[in-house]
């Protein structure tokens, strides 16, 4: 057995009223990738905050041993000095500086006041090559796409030459080919003797790269096994603590007349001149149907929904028919009036109002439907809100909890409840289960299925391949702004979707 480079022993961390971590034990060996999986709120992030030094050593009990030495971190800098580097899910960067400046911001080369730019760019290039990220070190970061940004934060992480690297959901914004890059890179790190902790909801990646996998649930380590000794059902069962018979719910149903017809939708590219991110796209959505839109990041899927909904209007041209009648949608108000609801991908940015509680967020889109001309009839409001709050089983102590403090899955439930209260004919939903744990995902699929059976027509954009092919009744695949194909129930396989996603 390879030597142990990191050991966390009996880590217990309490918040007022909650034991976030309860005697957690993990060990990391030299040159391995250790996967850590668990539902949202299982304690993974807290554990990593303990490891990184975000919580100083007097804020928890238990011991951390690095390379056989007991460590007591007072700050993130202490953790970094011990050779531990964290790469977080949310990327914090200086958008108007170059890639090189971002990578070496803590340690710019040069003498005295001056930066040695040739060396800076050279050193950065070496690191970029190591990860396989094909951008120029001089590129201004604002011009990078989400995937490149995420890879850049990895480059920044390895700049300090750590021997323990922690990846927290590093692939959320990556396309499949970028995920390949990341996997290759991890493999090379492993061969160089660097030890990595890999936290992810994506079991496919866990299986692909991890040597061993630790499951954490309710703040406790449940089990650690070699990756090949975990079968998927077993792993999921351990994560959620109960058996999942069926991840996906799908009842057979009939589809009605087309409720939404989009013709020749054109959306100009936000940053590149004379290019369209959505390029003359047309499709139909039938009543009671779940239409999936597949494709790679940047194919124009979200932009399609946003343009139909009236969220983006600049340079957009389109013809939209609802129930066979042409409608003009210039603003989200127009879209809502036409019977469309839209749960966006960026929940915190565009999905909920963080200064408001659950109740106010759920009733937000339906304020004008609540009885009362000027005043809010709070009794009627509460009644209606509770109905949807309970149907979606939002886990919160009360309706007056702030949405910010909920887990990602429950935030998404609040957003969905908001649209259900509005009772739309058509529901757009962009990456419905992004960053949501397995148990809650399964609940969402059941709800989407129910809604479709009730006659709601759904357009779902999803990068989660199993989700896309299992939840959708029909899938259209986009590539570079164009629809490259349509797959009916019988043809829905991951391979078919992927083939169309890269068809030019």
């Amino acid at each position: 057995m390879a030597e142990v480079v990191l050991e966390m022993k009996n880590i217990t961390k309490e918040f007022p009223g909650v034991k976030a971590l309860n005697n957690v034990n993990i060990d990391l060996r030299k040159g391995e990738v250790l996967g850590i999986v668990g539902e949202n709120g299982a304690g993974k992030s807290t554990l990593m905050k303990v490891l990184s030094g975000t919580y100083s050593h007097d804020q928890y009990t238990g011991e951390i041993w690095v390379d056989g030495k007991k460590q007591q971190f007072n700050s993130v800098a202490d953790g970094r000095n011990a050779g531990i580097c964290m790469i977080y899910q949310e990327v914090s960067v200086m958008f108007d500086s170059s890639v090189a400046e971002n990578v070496f911001v803590n340690n710019l080369p040069g003498k005295g006041l001056f930066v040695d730019y040739p060396k800076l760019y050279g050193d950065t290039q070496v690191l970029l090559d190591r990860v396989g990220l094909a951008v120029n070190p001089k590129t201004i970061v604002r011009k990078l796409n989400a995937g490149q940004l995420q890879l850049m934060s990895i480059v920044r992480g390895i700049a300090a030459n750590p021997h323990i690297l922690v990846f927290d959901e590093p692939s959320t914004a990556l396309t499949d080919s970028e995920v390949d890059l990341l996997m290759d890179f991890l493999d090379r790190l492993r061969k160089d003797g660097v030890s990595c902790i890999y936290i992810s909801h994506k079991l496919e990646e866990i299986y692909r790269i991890c040597d061993r996998v630790t499951v954490i649930r309710d703040g406790q380590t449940i089990a650690t096994r070699d990756a090949e000794d975990w079968n998927e059902a077993d792993l999921i069962e351990n994560m959620i603590g109960r058996k999942v018979e069926n991840m996906y719910t799908k009842t057979p149903r009939e589809f009605g007349e087309p409720v939404l017809e989009v013709e020749d939708l054109v959306v100009p590219h936000p940053t590149i001149k004379n290019r369209n991110i959505v390029d003359y796209t047309s499709f139909k959505l039938r009543k009671g149907e779940i239409l999936g839109i597949g494709g790679l990041v940047g194919a124009g899927r979200s932009e399609t929904l946003e343009a139909i909904f009236g969220k983006t209007t600049e340079g957009v041209s389109k013809k939209v028919k609802i129930h066979g009648k042409e409608v003009t949608i210039n603003t989200p108000q127009d879209a809502i009036k036409a019977g469309i609801g839209f749960a966006t991908e960026e929940r915190k940015l565009t999905g909920f109002v963080d200064t408001m509680d659950i109740m106010y967020n759920i009733s937000l889109a339906s304020l004008d439907d609540i009885p009362g001309k000027l005043f809010v009839d709070t009794k009627a409001e509460t009644e209606e809100v509770v109905k949807h709050f309970e149907r979606l089983r939002v886990k919160a102590p009360s309706l007056h909890q702030m949405v910010v403090n909920l887990s990602g899955g429950n935030q998404q439930k609040v957003i969905l409840a908001k649209w259900l209260m509005k009772n739309p004919d058509i529901l757009f939903i962009d990456e419905p289960t992004k960053g949501i744990d397995v148990g809650t995902k399964s609940e969402f699929y059941k709800i989407l299925d129910e809604l479709a059976n009730e006659g709601v027509s759904i357009v779902m954009v999803s990068s989660d391949m199993p989700e896309l092919i299992s939840v959708s009744d029909r899938v259209i695949v986009m590539c570079e702004g164009k629809i490259t194909g349509e797959l009916d129930k019988g043809e829905l396989t991951q391979a078919n979707v992927m083939r169309l996603a890269i068809t030019k």
Binding site: V353, M356, A365, L367, M402, N405
Partner: protein, 323 residues
Amino acid sequence: MENKKGFSVKSLMKVKELGAVIPLILISVIATVVNPAFVSQANLIEILRTTSYTVMLGVPLTFLLASGRMDLSIGDNTALGGIIAAMAAVNLGLPLPIAIIVAIAVGMLVGFLNSLMVEWLALPGFIATLAMSNIVNGTNSVITNNTAISGISAGFKAIAQTRLFGVVPIPVLYAVVVAVVGHVIMSRTKFGRKVLAVGGNAEAANLAGINVKKLHMIMFMTVGAFAAISGILYCSRFSSAQLSAGAGTSLTILSSAIIGGTSMRGGTGTVFGTVLGCLLFAVISDALVVMGVSTNWQNVVYGLILVAALIIDYLRQKSTQRA
């Protein structure tokens, strides 16, 4: 670590109006000890009168702040309101109600221009309304040639100089009405709910079907209207329209709202807190006089309060994030 004490401080921070209440009590006590005349009836009424003028503007400004915008042109817009009303009534000889309507319309026009700059041209609100403040200030000088306009009618004077039961200046009544109506709108109506949603997350509110630009425009124009009304009151009270009426009040009123518990970042607003904030400023300026402190210190104190208010706002923000 979360100890008992940290916990109670945190829960105290949640009482939005606290930032105004504590200094209010402290200063009142000190002023009374130094000079008992502070609590004389005449002095208390004077404090109420001063408060009523700022409340008239502070309440609509609270809505604007809650919706995520601010307006630094209110002080000069106030002076403009008095000037327009006086010019219309005295120089043009228009009937009083018409003069008032014209003045309010001009105030709303300034608000509309503010919203045009901030909403449609997407200029930063802080600088754009500061620029508007300069424009209005200059306009005031141009149209009056830097002289006060006097000679307003007895009816005009009665607007602010009437005293209820011969004691309480009538602007106090106006302010109470504005505050009560404002409070009800903010806390009970659909419109108030939309204001708070837009201030909390404009894009989420927009996607939920709220017309964000229109709402901001309404708020800017309402603030403009109340600036004009406030100017008319000053004009009536001093029997003449003066360029200095309302001058420099923009920041004071902004500070009143913030120290009262309305956030600079939008999404929260308390009319009651703003009234307390306005009262606090009136008490401070009065206390300084009563205690014999040179009025030169007034601006220093005002500035310090604004800094304190911003710090409280920041701490409050931090404490609610991890609630």
